[in-house]
């Protein structure tokens, strides 16, 4: 499944440039972010819950399951990762169901920077070079390192062949109101994503929404990242107690919708952490469908950051094709 790189029209670039004044200085940026419409928590959560009751069956379910598989950033982010583990994951990502070759491939393999080269090589040799390699850089998951270290981490991953960079923002700077600092950091990392040939790795900006706590913060940080040039906005690292939730993801989808309306620039969304079941994944797809619609219902613009979700999707897929539930021994453990 080829993943395209967005090419913005001149008009969009112009409209984005016209928003440059809101990032002129700390005060302007603060006024802009605090001028965004507020978020009513009760209403947001009620809307997310209502979308979660949509009933997806038969043909729609089959379509949605394959779509969800194709949107997965299959992830291993453990201190104990080895080349062997990463190669096994790449094999699984390129051929998720050995018993059914019609199962789609995942969108990307997500690893630490030192495993990028291994993943690239493994995907090439398993005949799936079109699967992207995403690398969490910038002192993931805490983000507590000096900027030069974060930029070096990023450049290192890009040099090793990473197609996508998942950066974490400095939550400390954001929570203490140093918005321009966060903005400049995202811009710097985006520049570090550039390759010598003029192309650039896709930049996903991770907010760690569980640490930002309030919905107002989530809307502000979404706009902040999009103004700084994020290609994707991503909920969380998967390393904290509260990761992606339906209300937070819905709010980010709404921010992406409003940013697109204001600038013409399309940005992707990636909920990550804690999405383990097909039922959950379908709820997220319904949110995308009813908030952003068809243009975002592809792996180019929506991803799931997940490791165990894939197996549940495969089991549900087998159930749809055979009429029977199989079990965990009928899918691979990698």
């Amino acid at each position: 499944m080829p993943i395209t790189v967005p090419a913005y029209g001149k008009e969009a670039a112009g409209r984005l440039a016209s928003m440059a004044d809101v990032t002129a200085d700390d005060g302007a940026l603060r006024r802009f972010l605090h001028g965004l419409p507020g978020v009513d928590a009760v209403g947001l959560e009620a809307r997310a819950a209502t979308l979660g009751t949509r009933s997806i069956k038969t043909t729609a379910k089959a379509y949605a399951i394959d779509l969800a598989i194709s949107m997965i950033d299959l992830t291993t982010l453990e201190g104990a990762d080895t080349p062997g583990k990463v190669r096994a994951l790449c094999a699984k990502g390129s051929n998720p169901d050995p018993t059914d070759r019609t199962a789609p491939k995942v969108a990307a393999i997500c690893v630490y920077p030192d495993m990028v080269a291994t993943a690239k090589e493994a995907l090439r040799s398993s005949g799936a070079p079109d699967i992207h390699v995403a690398s969490v850089a910038t002192a993931f998951p805490a983000g507590r390192a000096a900027l030069p270290v974060k930029l070096a981490d990023t450049r290192d991953a890009v040099a090793a062949g990473a197609d996508e960079i998942d950066m974490v923002i400095d939550r400390g700077a954001f929570l203490s109101g140093r918005y321009l600092e966060v903005f400049e950091e995202i811009k710097a990392v985006k520049e570090a994503c550039a390759r010598p040939d003029g192309s650039a790795a896709h930049l996903k900006v991770i907010f760690e929404t569980g640490e930002l706590q309030t919905y107002d913060n989530v809307r502000r940080v979404s706009w902040l990242a999009m103004l700084a040039g994020a290609d994707f906005i991503k909920t969380s690292t998967g390393k904290v107690a509260v990761n992606a939730t339906p209300p937070v993801t819905l709010l980010m989808l709404e921010a992406v919708r409003d940013f697109h309306a204001a600038t013409g620039v399309q940005v992707g969304v990636k909920p990550a952490g804690g999405i383990r079941t097909t039922k959950d994944a379908l709820k997220y797809l319904v949110m995308v469908n009813e908030t952003l619609g068809e243009p975002w219902l592809t792996a180019d613009w929506f991803r799931f950051g997940a490791s165990s979700l894939l197996n549940d999707l495969l089991m549900q897929r087998q159930k749809l094709s055979t009429g029977r539930y199989s079990g965990p021994d009928y899918v691979t453990v990698d």
Partner: protein
């Protein structure tokens, strides 16, 4: 390929509708004395669901006498004993909620999503809530040992058939009254199923009597000399007729009538949630809601942004089969109601307001009306003044909070209102100025058995729900 949701219809097999039903009097089903009956149809398909009896004045008399006889024993029971029956009814409603939700959607046309997620949980909650009051009436603030009134004659509308039944019957029984209830002509089935639930709960005979019939049955019930209390929810026109009937008698009366609620959106409102609230305010239950937010008052500075967001949201509303779990808007309850909505919408256009509706394919049979928006509406337009009772929203604008208050209150009605703002002080200031029984802030159409509900002006008088709801059934 696109993400088209496959049909997900709830099974009809969970509900067993008999070909015909009698009147429920003194614990037994019996045909009407003169043998008359009429059909009830499913508004989404025009299919006849069943035939129900048309109660005559003689049947009304029999039911009132049964209720009078039962009153002696029922009112003498200790509150804790009455509570047991109410708790039992509440639990049976929960157990049978899927069946009742499907039945309600079939007979009324409302989407199963709403009957399942809103109506039935609230119905059970009302019985649970008033069951809790039954043995605590001494502590309700109406003095020691407050006494019931006697026989309550209750007439309910077709928009929330089972919920309105619960609002009427639960407080009446908790306080020791007995009941003769007439459900609406187009939606009698869930009340008849409730009669069966009363039997299942072992409720003493005659405590609850259900009479199906049309307006003449309702008039006979309201006018019956041995009825002590009249409770009515429905149109202002019928409410006025009832008020005339009971005037000069010693009957107590509560009326919960029409509305034309203002839903006021300020420029600092949480826009995305306000859009949801507007949608919920006017398109919930096809707009068949007396407290619907049918007049949107939007501050001029955010008008364009808000209307664009609202139209975008309206395009995602799914209109169709009420039994499909993915349906947002079901069928209009009857051909007469559809004609009334159509006539008022046409008047809106004729008077110069701009009409907009999303492209949506309406089913071939049944009664349907697409969710509709009117912009450029002024206070002088009929669609800004008259209750439409359908999925039709009139949009007006204002510039200052004072103007919003003035326009919101400039209506013969006063049932509900909504305020959308992030500023707490403004919200409280507005709430104290608005002449409406219920005022929601940053939400709309939220109900709770503990919260009193009722109107100002032509929206009626008396309160239902909460501690206040007890007063209407006690001699205080």
């Amino acid at each position: 390929m696109t993400f088209d949701y496959a049909p997900a219809p709830e099974s009809r097999a969970v509900v067993d509708i008999a070909p015909s039903y009698g009147l429920f009097i003194d614990g037994e089903f019996a045909p009407a004395s003169d043998g008359k009956a009429f059909k009830t149809v499913s508004p989404s398909s025009e299919e006849a669901l069943s035939e129900v009896a048309q109660a005559s004045a003689e049947d009304v008399d029999r039911a009132v006498r049964a209720a009078r006889k039962a009153f002696e024993k029922w009112s003498a029971l200790p509150g804790a004993e009455r509570a047991k029956y109410l708790f039992r009814i509440a639990r049976i409603i929960q157990e049978r909620s899927r069946e009742l939700a499907v039945l309600e959607s079939l007979d009324n046309g409302k989407p199963i999503r709403e009957s399942r997620d809103a109506d039935l949980p609230l119905v059970a909650a009302h019985f649970f809530y008033y069951a809790g009051w039954a043995d605590k009436l001494d502590h309700a603030g109406y003095g020691p040992n407050p006494r019931p009134l006697g026989v309550a004659g209750q007439v309910i509308p077709w928009n929330f058939p089972l919920l309105m039944l619960a609002w009427k019957i639960a407080p009446a029984l908790a306080t020791g009254n007995t009941v003769v209830l007439k459900p609406a002509e187009t939606t009698p089935l869930s009340a008849l199923f409730f009669a069966d639930i009363c039997r299942q709960a072992g409720l003493p005979k005659g405590v609850v009597n259900i009479l199906t019939g049309d307006g003449s049955t309702g008039a006979a019930l309201v006018g019956h000399p041995d009825v002590d209390k009249v409770a009515f929810t429905g149109s202002t026109e019928v409410g006025k007729a009832i008020a005339r009937t009971v005037a000069g008698t010693d009957k107590r009366v509560t009326l919960e009538l029409g509305g034309k609620a203002a839903n006021i959106v300020f420029d600092d409102a949480p826009i995305d949630q306000a859009v949801e609230g507007i949608v919920n305010g006017i398109f919930f239950n096809q707009g068949h809601v007396c407290c619907a937010g049918s007049r949107l008052l939007v501050q001029e500075s955010v008008q364009d942004e808000l209307l664009e967001a609202l139209k975008r949201r309206m395009r995602t509303l799914r209109v169709g089969d009420p039994l499909d779990k993915n349906t947002d808007i079901g069928a209009i309850n009857s051909a007469e109601q559809l004609a009334r909505i159509t006539a008022l919408a046409d008047a809106g256009e004729a008077e110069g307001a701009e009409r907009w509706a999303p492209d949506c394919e309406l089913p071939g049979s049944g009664y349907w009306f697409a969710p509709t928006l009117f912009t450029g509406v002024t206070q002088a337009h009929r669609i800004a003044r008259e209750e439409i009772f359908g999925p039709v929203l009139s949009v007006l604008t204002f510039r200052t909070p004072a103007e919003a208050v003035e326009k919101a209150n400039n209506t013969p009605y006063g049932l509900s209102a909504g305020i959308w703002t992030e500023k707490g002080s403004r919200m409280l200031w507005m709430a104290s100025k608005l002449r409406a029984g219920v005022i929601w802030s940053n939400t709309f159409n939220k109900f709770d058995p503990a919260s009193p509900f009722g109107g100002y002006k032509e929206s009626g008088f008396g309160r239902e729900g909460g501690r206040h709801g007890l007063e209407a059934y006690l001699n205080v």
